[in-house]
């Protein structure tokens, strides 16, 4: 079955994969069932570790033979020394984090590059939904009702990029894309309107 979720993941996964150097060390925060790490281990021969809060997801990662660490990302990454990893990935996870800036700082403490996917609140489709319905709907929120959804962070691509400066993080590379399609572009012109996803490769400002 090719569900919409699978299509979104596949598009994001292939963009992430292109950034990863073969044989590098990768930490995947909020790794879920380990599908992305599995792909990176197979195709890029990376040494990968996942971090996940849900025990059922931990069980699935173990079944895949992926090393996984049960923890709440919001509590920091104190388990790892500075610059342990080449890449620290936060894919489809930033929207559930209470302290995104602290987590991003931690990512760039334990790793050289941070790779973060952001669902664009400013996407034209979302603007139309809010305009017509006058409320947040499940297409924007992705899961749950307003009072029980784990999705608590709504950020547009432009606001995300602006806030990087406040915490001395440099944008190294970016993709703006429409998840359901195969369209992606490095040009940021009108991306805040036309792309529903952004993928950012970040490093600490030197």
């Amino acid at each position: 079955m090719d569900s919409p979720v699978n299509r979104i993941s596949r598009h994001t996964y292939s963009l992430i994969e292109d950034w990863i150097e073969p044989g590098s060390r990768v930490l995947d925060l909020g790794c879920g069932d380990g599908a992305l790490l599995d792909r990176l281990i197979e195709r890029k021969k990376v040494e990968g570790i996942g971090v996940e809060i849900s025990q059922s997801m931990i069980v699935r990662c173990l079944g895949r033979g992926i090393s996984v660490y049960q923890a709440d990302i919001d509590r920091g990454l104190s388990q790892w020394d500075d610059m342990t990893f080449d890449y620290v990935i936060l894919n489809d996870t930033i929207q559930v984090i209470s302290r995104p800036h602290e987590v991003m700082n931690e990512m760039l403490r334990v790793g050289r590059y941070a790779i973060i996917s952001v669902s664009n609140f400013g996407y034209i489709g979302n603007r139309i939904r809010i305009f017509l319905e006058g409320r947040m709907n499940t297409a924007i929120r992705t899961t749950g009702a307003w009072h029980d959804t784990p999705v608590i962070r709504f950020v547009s691509l432009s606001e995300f990029k602006t806030s990087l400066r406040e915490i001395n993080i440099t944008l190294v590379d970016a993709w703006y894309y429409v998840a359901h399609s195969s369209i992606h572009s490095r040009r940021s012109f009108l991306s805040n309107l036309l792309a529903d996803q952004g993928l950012f490769k970040l490093k600490r400002e030197e």
Binding site: E47, I58, L62, G65, S67, Q70, A71
Partner: protein, 381 residues
């Protein structure tokens, strides 16, 4: 369903068995049990390590008994350690009192129990004795070594000393070294035994053993094995009688519970073994032991260095949220250490109110984790 039966077997090593202290024991008896033996089929071996008061009887039933082994929820057909797929072995530690040579065994030189003339033992001595047993059984490769609490210490020690012999380890509710608090609890237990006049410098065999002291030691242990929340839930302030003059006998439910734990323990455990084994636990320090011996190339050299033999190894570390005796932070330190040596270590923290004892009682979540972990090892072949 018919109860699966098992017998404790023993191996007699008639050459001197050398200990870390420089002493040796001769002859040495090692008690062990095997589950899932299937003559004619090639099965991978799982090695089970028991905790302080455990024995070789980890699973199945002894003839005529109604209670199965101490980890029967985890070992058997369709269970975490599936005896349909694996040959599972558990041995009693040396220094113990359940079949392997310990202070209550007869010293062949004097014809009397060793008592305190028994040499001090270490966690490594326990695993070296198992190595001697495995050699006798013709087993040179272990799919997974697993243990909780002191069993976890043995698993880490054995795996670290001979990484080539193991594909993986599972370490549950354990630590690489005891903290001051953990040593302190053990010391109070030891003092309770030694303060009992019946202990008599360890010479009580053939007489009434120091039951009072040993049961107090066990009571202290049991307080640390369960969580405050669970104790409150289970007993609260419930009492059988409200006679205020009853201060010299158990009245509160929790007192009855501890009394029962203490009394039933003295029936099956030797006080001197308790002293020897808790000392082995307190003296255990994995990092020092493996760097000092030069067998494992030491932490300092190994950290950040790629050890090719270890890169293919897997580890699973499990802790429990309410375990205050072996807190999760100690398990995370194990993960840090072995990750630094490039072992593919995973970590799971099980949410439970059952405290340290959860490794014996919370089998469902452990089973999910362990079965997935073991399955992935099969695919890696």
């Amino acid at each position: 369903m018919q109860k699966p039966l098992v017998e404790t077997r023993s191996l007699l090593l008639d050459r001197p068995f050398h200990l870390e202290s420089g002493d040796s024991i001769s002859p040495l008896t090692i008690a062990y049990e095997i589950y899932g033996e299937d003559p004619g089929t090639e099965k991978q071996v799982i090695l089970i390590e028991h905790a302080l008061s455990g024995s070789a009887h980890a699973a199945f039933y002894h003839e005529g008994e109604t209670k199965p082994g101490w980890w029967d929820d985890m070992i058997g057909p369709g269970k975490a350690f599936d005896t349909e797929h694996y040959r599972v072995i558990c041995t009693n530690v040396i220094g113990g009192c359940n079949g392997s040579t310990g202070p209550s065994s007869i010293n062949p030189v004097t014809g009397k129990p060793f008592a305190l003339s028994f040499p001090p033992i270490t966690i490594r001595d326990m695993t070296e004795a198992q190595r001697a047993l495995l050699a006798q059984l013709g087993i040179d490769r272990i799919r997974c070594i697993v243990g909780g609490s002191m069993g976890g210490m043995q698993a880490l020690q054995f795996f670290s000393d001979y990484p080539d012999q193991f594909d993986s380890f599972i370490c549950i509710a354990s630590t690489m070294r005891h903290s001051a608090q953990q040593i302190a609890f053990n010391e109070v237990g030891r003092r309770a035994i030694m303060a009992d006049p019946r202990w008599n410098g360890g010479n009580y065999y053939g007489d009434i053993p120091p039951e009072g002291g040993l049961s107090v030691a066990r009571m202290i242990g049991h307080i640390t094995y369960i969580s405050e929340h669970m104790m409150q839930e289970k007993f609260g302030r419930i009492r059988k009688d409200k006679d205020l003059r009853a201060i010299f006998r158990p009245s509160f439910e929790v007192e009855h519970y501890l009394d029962y734990q203490g009394v039933s323990f003295v029936r099956r455990f030797d006080a001197n073994s308790y002293l020897y084994i808790t000392s082995a636990i307190d003296n255990f320090d994995l990092v020092t032991s493996i760097s000092g011996m030069g067998r494992f190339r030491g932490e300092s050299r190994a950290r950040g260095t790629r050890l090719t033999t270890l890169e293919t190894k897997k580890g699973l570390v499990i802790s429990f949220t309410s375990d205050w005796l072996y807190p999760s932070e100690q398990s995370r330190a194990i993960v840090r250490f072995f990750s630094g040596l490039n072992v593919g270590v995973s970590y799971a923290e099980i949410t439970t109110e059952h405290g340290h004892d959860a490794f014996l009682t919370d089998h469902e979540q452990q089973t999910h984790l362990i079965r997935s972990f073991l399955e992935s090892l099969e695919h890696a072949q």
